[in-house]
Symmetry: C2
Subunit: 224 residues, 2 copies
């Protein structure tokens, strides 16, 4: 089933009745895109590079995909559809924690996801499992429907923010010496005493456990 009803596709239920048979499908394009990203990173995923990968003209792609944004959406949904959703505990609070953690961990595996996430929604059929689970658990825990929606939004904002911010930080670190490091080395102890005191130790406080701790705090507050 095409995810966009408006686009012609050779993947639809009935094969097209007229015209010449397609040489590639939307699935082929998505697979090729994944290959490009795996090989060279998201920043190299261009319509032209993708066309080269598929040995076709850039314009051939536009027959299967509305534009590049549409391609990225497809890519993200395809990835989300592959996530294995775990069995959930009964306690609603635990359910929220587990669901959010699964979502976070699944999205943090590949750095390219963060880039796509930053300008796109996560709305694949399968990704909807996430808001559904959180909202349902929040209602079970006693929140009203609007409060449950607000709680989900807060959790999503926290999760997306963590992914985006730490994702960029990792990339920056990989690119070489940072402006950030320079700033932290020359802090004014008069103006920002706490930061100056922390100084270079800042990076030592491991970022790993931060997501879990913050999530717990947020959920505790939301359900209070």
């Amino acid at each position: 089933m095409g995810k966009m009803g408006t686009m012609p596709t050779s993947q639809s239920g009935q094969p097209a009745r007229t015209g010449r048979p397609a040489r590639m499908s939307r699935a082929d394009i998505v697979a090729a895109a994944h290959r490009v990203i795996a090989a060279d990173g998201v920043e190299k995923l261009t319509m032209r590079r993708l066309a080269a990968e598929l040995a076709c003209t850039p314009m051939a792609l536009y027959h299967h995909v509305r534009d590049k944004q549409d391609l990225l959406r497809l890519l993200l949904d395809d990835y989300a559809d592959a996530i294995a959703w775990p069995a959930l505990p009964d306690d609603p609070r635990q359910r929220i924690l587990v669901a959010a953690t699964v979502m976070h961990d699944a999205l943090s595996v590949h750095p390219w996801i963060v880039d796509v996430l930053a300008d796109g929604d996560l709305l694949g059929r399968s990704a909807l499992w996430f808001p559904e689970t959180i909202i349902d658990a929040a209602i079970t825990a006693g929140l009203s429907v609007p409060d449950a929606v607000a709680a989900y939004r807060a959790i999503w904002h926290y999760t997306a923010g963590e992914l985006i911010v730490t994702g960029r930080a990792v990339r920056r670190a990989a690119e070489g010496p940072t402006y950030r490091a320079e700033v932290f080395a020359n802090l004014d102890a008069e103006q920002v005493p706490r930061l100056a005191e922390i100084g270079s130790r800042w990076t030592e406080f491991d970022t790993e456990t931060t997501y879990a701790a913050g999530l717990k705090a947020l959920v505790t507050g939301l359900l209070a």
Copy 2:
């Protein structure tokens, strides 16, 4: 004082002793960039457009700015330096809430900030007021230094995530009918009963108060 010790600049304390006088300063460039953004949006802020605004060659800019990323950093720091930091209440919890809200509100005024934020740090001299205040208040409230840093991180991730996600949503809405709306109109009540029940009412739950409510919850949990 130039914000980057390595770059030549006519803004530095001593005027350059040799060579021809500069026709434009870093400040001029930043001001022109603000004008371009105000007129046409961030997506139109290119080195070439900026050069046109300043009636110079694109390459002239590279004499004052390392590259485009550097320009965006300058822009953001310049904006942050103009934020009026308010007097803060004594109670550390309230102090955190006020500081975070000021930061959030200041950054949410102009939509372009979110785009720059998504791939850059916020490290201007003045922007450091934010982590300094939060961490100091958290320590005053009884947290250890590592816990205070973690608390600041969580608050920043939440704030940045809220700004980025809702910022994109606003832009998408402005661009026309959304894929999102289509998805929400055709939800499968079997698979995602809660979402289907909420349906189009989703957008009604106002996003305005969400930041404040989530922040309160997060801080409550962090200080518990």
